[in-house]
Assembly symmetry: C2
Homo-oligomer: 233 residues x 2
Amino acid sequence: MAALAGSGANTVNEPSPAPQPTEASAAKAVSGVDLHQMRRQRLNPDERRQQIFVCAQKLFNENPYEDVSATDIAAAAGVARGLINHYFGNKRNLYLEVIRISSTVSAVAVARLPEGSLEERIDLAVDWFLDSLEKSGTSWLALGSGSMGRDPDLETILIAAENDSIELLIEACGLAGRTEGREQIRAMFRIYAQLARSGGREWLLRKTLTRPQVHALLASTLAVIVEKAVPAV
Amino acid sequence: MAALAGSGANTVNEPSPAPQPTEASAAKAVSGVDLHQMRRQRLNPDERRQQIFVCAQKLFNENPYEDVSATDIAAAAGVARGLINHYFGNKRNLYLEVIRISSTVSAVAVARLPEGSLEERIDLAVDWFLDSLEKSGTSWLALGSGSMGRDPDLETILIAAENDSIELLIEACGLAGRTEGREQIRAMFRIYAQLARSGGREWLLRKTLTRPQVHALLASTLAVIVEKAVPAV
DNA sequence: AGGACTATTGACAACGTGTCAATAGCTGGC
DNA sequence: GCCAGCTATTGACACGTTGTCAATAGTCCT
């Protein structure tokens, strides 16, 4: 993997004071001259685990899974590679844990969903979504349906994370009361969520559409889903 | 990887008479008793390449990329692993070639798109899409945006394949004449394509919605995009 | 200070990939 | 029919990655 610094846009959920990558990795990485023996230091398991996690998060956000080796992560954390397996079992598991956090973006808060007509509430909900998208950075956009139906673990994680946002959206559309076709309504909103994600991609990644244009598309399609598709269950 | 037979639903584009996996692989796979020395046979390059390709296609359709090793493919084709690199350079390249074929599904024919109101044409277009989806199997659904923005090669292949369908859809919606915001219109249909794909997933993979329900959702959203979002460019 | 607990290491085995010189199947000329 | 040349095909090699595990060495407690 090519070592690069990157801006590290979206580090979500940072319980402990974010232990810096440790002067260890720096010393090793910068040059070979600096051999003051680097007394290895012994942290308590939670801190060390968290530190490794943060480094992995950064790397996985900047590079695709297979381009990040356990060695890279260990080097970034200034730690022996074996320690990764000790704390996370295997690389894939660590990755899944990173995903689990990264994909919890947006479920955090929609504060108060205001009164008003359906159109107004949809408008606000879309605004809120685009805001949170802009803040959370682009890595979340790259996530998703690539391995759907193939990778059960990843799928359940992603589904679980998306469910929160979806419940929220359903409520915002005034459909919280509906109980009969509940699962089917959820499915429809899940489909819509992909539309929203895809819209975000065009806006933030490919830059082919402006925010107002994406907003218009998302708002009008959501409205028509609520008005036409949902009643058809 | 787990060796399993599978039905091999969608083998598209089969130029040569589909050389069977060769009794070689069978002999090796079935039991160790059958050692009549297996004279290796020398095919002309096109045939051999095609044969390897077919085996790879089958394996990649049934298992995710990283679970299929070059050894698996070579074994399936009854051939030395080195030959794969000789013909395709590397594993990734072979994979991309498989994808390039698999993703050309649906661009084949929409025959005649009939006259009629916008609603009618949209209805037919959605029907056509769902038909082709049902036929092409589920592997196409699993493809897609997972590595978007990360994997340029895969992205361009997928985009290229999707572009055909999108041009078709634009025409079906009577937007072929529009020239000014062309690229933005394309972007909107690209977003819609993700919605359609996602709808297909709910219908065929997760089985949470029925075909009529997905149809209604796709038709109404497409209509509203054409009527509301597109005029806003 | 010294002993016990355990976080951390480093070497090992297994596996996967790409390269390349050596091998052996086929084909055409005699 | 047979032999020589062409090249499709092989198998071993070098290197990188992953997961395991016994050995090592910080740190805390008495």
